[in-house]
Symmetry: D2
């Protein structure tokens, strides 16, 4: 029998998780929630995904617009084994209580604090920590990106110290909130939360971060530098990453010089939604000077955590013991296998 | 036997035409040309699309990079019935001579002048004009957009006069040429070329245009106003368009308020490359005041001319006499049928 | 004795009105209000402009930050003859009651409805309407822009009908609210409010408008077309505007091709704040085809209404009977005289 | 007698140097050169700055447009003691030969390589190196920015190692070349040239850099981290900078959160052209963790090197022996003194 999954919040992350679950043979979507009768709610109807109102009071607005509803979140919770909570950041606490009461497991996203679940999850670094757990948190897109490339490097070469400067996208493509049209804005509170957030998964890592927000909708770009314990050559680093799932190389020499061209490549590869769930590393933007590694990576903020959500369900629902088998299954079904 | 098609120029338009032809049962891609060993050339190799160098002198650069070449444009021309010329604007003349010498038909794009072919093509307005022709030009994305909505309105209600203000995207998403980051730039030469360009297909239409360029990569937006001959209601206009292929409605009330949200919808609908080959009309942005119609439409500059290229091949190669049958076949195969 | 002016709201418009009043010999700034201890409040302190809290409850926050306050808005109202209300749009009603109670005159900005004052003001078109009035509204930056160029043209050549497509800036340079980073967004409600707003000043004008918002912080750009009653040549139109204050020509031929280059010119001319209080018309972007005039104009949204505020004070306070004398005085003192 | 200065290239830097020299009592502008009859050439005419054609062949184009010319660059060179070369990058070599032949001194900008002059200049770090020299190069805006804050910190606390991630503006406000509208582009060649460029002035500094380009016209933003030799507190660092000319603090707490608000402040302070010639440091964006310092700074790319050009003239022309006296004089005359 398939694991029955509900998705609370059918937005940027929620709709991608739904799409990914539909590709799996060991889990299925039971329903998704929405707060407003937007075009996304209409699409759920068209695709025959049962739609639930996040609260009873929202039902009327949907019905007025002729959108078919299957009930409310409370109804949905009676039918599922696990909920992927893809609600906007900082709303998790309220929902956690509902999940607990309904006796269902819950996965939160990186917009929530570590404390909401006590377990912060990455498929490579700590798959087993979520084994059978009631709650876990898949870390944010930026944190996932840092862990994906740093974990294997730390594993093979060791790291003394890591510093990353994150250039964050101002808003998602269709998102109207909050970025200045023509400005760069630093995150003044130092060190930024990204370092400690990586440490929720890799507590031994000595990492500091700074970040700025740029007026683009296309990917986060990281400038990373790491002091290694062992000497390494650039090719050795590349070789480690080449053998790591969910890391993809691009090359400036082939004309992929910016985040826009990376996203163009995703379209040309006919990736669903033009997403890149892998972390993108410029192979001609990696350099080791003595024992210090420098590299650039690009993070597709809308999608890189999707495979982690699938793996996290497997770990929490005890569907697959071997992390690498889960990772490979997820990647094969999502078309991102190496 | 399938019509054998070559594509000269495997960029924004060329790669989409190749994708569209691969979906047809009455034509096939014989090869595409490229001038540089970019990642797009690599992709052609991966997808087993025979790759030709636009000129002999380019071959070496490809081979150095390990890209497999099938020959040069001259070789390609010996193997095809018709070429879709998707080279950058203003290079058509030179190529036209080559096509003529090789005895193959040629379709040019809207970056070339009308005179290059003497026939400017739109599937609805003048399918038969290209019947059996040696050369034709598919008009530009903006012109195609204006014709798609104006032709049926003019047909049913008549038009005294049309004025359109075009807000053009500054550059395509991965394109690095020429737009100011934070500015709007008017096309000072008045009237702009768009009106006369519409008249190459609809010579009877009294149309004037102005245009500005905005710092966005997302679609052209048209503000159109037309004085009608007959009275009409907004719903009647919408009904005419609803019955016209390649026009799609969106609604601000459902949350589709800008070009970004339109493109997001294309992604959510899992359209290849996130393209919208239809002209997008806001159904709540149409108004008739007395006999004057006002409406907004959005043009996906990268893709709206693709179906026209397919139909144009059919007309020039005498594959299908009935325009509507060609249009429906194209639309069904491309997943944009109504 | 100078007219005593208070400014309610020391933001984009308020600080510019203060700057302009400081240049006049027949009026003086008594104080300005602020709601938060921002850097602008600090600047007011530095420049010895008496600062008042918009409400009593805000005073503490200022004092905590060491900002010197002269009292509250209520205190300010006891000391002035007239208030320029430069508060954010739609807050005017509440304030109007306070001004009325305090027995002071009030000028509202274009973010408020016509009804708030019953008189909508433009220096050229209806200076006398505000004569001695208790309340008046200076129309918005876009409306002011349309009136400045249309009023003289209508005066000399007559107009049958005007249509304008407005390409609005998404946000002011340092403003973080609400524009999409990479999108164009039409104003779906048609006709847009700009036409009726022009008619609050020129009720006889037959004008329709559409508008879109573009992701730029630099100026609104208008595409205007007007059917004239009398034949005219382009040069005649230019000559009329050349003789009209507050209209400035630029030329694409001299390299001023976009809104960014216009603003660069303002900087090069050492205009305070890099503002252009004039309406900018491209002299090589004006064309008359038969009796229809086409032109582009650029509106500096932050500053074009400033001189109108000064003139409006003069009219309401009966300081100067002759509109042209007020206009010339204002322009001379602000360095924008012809 | 005043030192006679010519400016070769009257663009972004050239026009600002001209403006700055006009404020000095020990030097004067003899003339500026231009290659095209742009609006900037017209402005030079209006301001009575003698205008010279960069080459004889350009003269005709100016005269056709009615722009008054005083001769060619060759003529200008006969009348000056020193030239400030503000021509576009990589053209310096050709001009250097002309200056040498004419027997005049020359100052190059940061777009040229160190080798062109053999001396790379910063007012604080190595004023005396340019003493009496025939050629010197004022380092680029980014390099100047790094030196201004790092030199005093290195001086007082010592540095083991510095790393900076530079987020560069894509283009200047009115510049149409080369930035993608919606993308971030890393400088793949590592380490980027900025570190070595700092070392042309501070050869002892152990500094590495990475950089990306963002789609903004507003300032470069630097994320800097430095391992100090001595322990320091944040306030001590701030105190050192507070005592250093040409460093200005802003505070996020006062609402200055991004590059756009910094530039807005420059406008509010009525700085000529809205420029900030100082390096801007967020005082609430400075942090020391153990011996590692983190800070953000913002560089106004159009203007920060202007005072350095003035000081460099003084050093090369032996006008003032004491660097600090030159710096203070420059700053006082330019309105940026502390």
């Amino acid at each position: 029998m398939k694991v029955r999954v509900g998705i609370n919040g059918y937005g940027t992350i929620g709709k991608r998780v739904a799409f990914a679950i539909a590709k799996q043979d060991d889990m299925e979507i039971v329903g998704v929630t929405k707060t407003k009768p937007s075009y996304e709610a209409r699409l759920a109807n068209k695709e025959n995904i049962p739609l639930y109102a996040a609260k009873q009071e929202f039902v009327e607005a949907f019905e007025k617009e002729g959108i078919k509803m299957a009930g409310t979140l409370e109804d949905l919770l009676t039918k599922v084994d696990i909920v992927v909570d893809a609600t906007p950041g900082k709303m998790g606490k309220e929902y956690r209580a509902m999940y607990e009461k309904a006796g269902v497991k819950g996965i939160f996203q990186g917009g929530e604090e570590h404390g909401i679940a006590g377990i912060s999850f990455n498929s490579f670094a700590n798959y087993h920590e979520a084994w059978g757990a009631q709650f876990a948190r898949v870390v944010s897109c930026n944190t996932t990106g840092l862990i994906r490339t740093l974990f294997p490097v730390d594993n093979v070469f060791g790291t003394e110290r890591v510093f990353a400067a994150l250039v964050r996208r101002g808003a998602d493509p269709a998102d109207k909130k909050g970025a200045l049209l023509n400005a760069v804005e630093p995150t003044l509170k130092l060190p930024t939360h990204h370092g400690p957030d990586v440490q929720t998964v890799m507590p031994w890592l000595n990492i500091q971060t700074m970040s700025v927000t740029a007026p683009t909708t296309m990917m986060h770009i990281h400038c990373v530098t790491a002091d290694l314990k062992k000497k390494a050559k650039g090719e050795e680093i590349l070789s480690v990453w080449d053998n790591t799932p969910r890391i993809k190389f691009v090359s400036g020499k082939h004309g992929i010089k910016s985040s826009a061209q990376i996203m163009e490549l995703a379209r040309d590869l006919n990736r669903p939604r033009g997403d890149f769930m892998e972390i993108i590393v410029w192979e001609d933007g990696v350099k080791v000077v003595e024992k210090t590694l420098y590299y650039y990576q690009a993070i597709h903020q809308e999608s890189d955590v999707i495979p982690e959500n699938i793996d996290c369900i497997r770990s929490m629902m005890k569907l697959e013991k071997d992390p690498l088998r889960s990772i490979r299954k997820t990647d094969r079904t999502l078309g991102i296998g190496k």
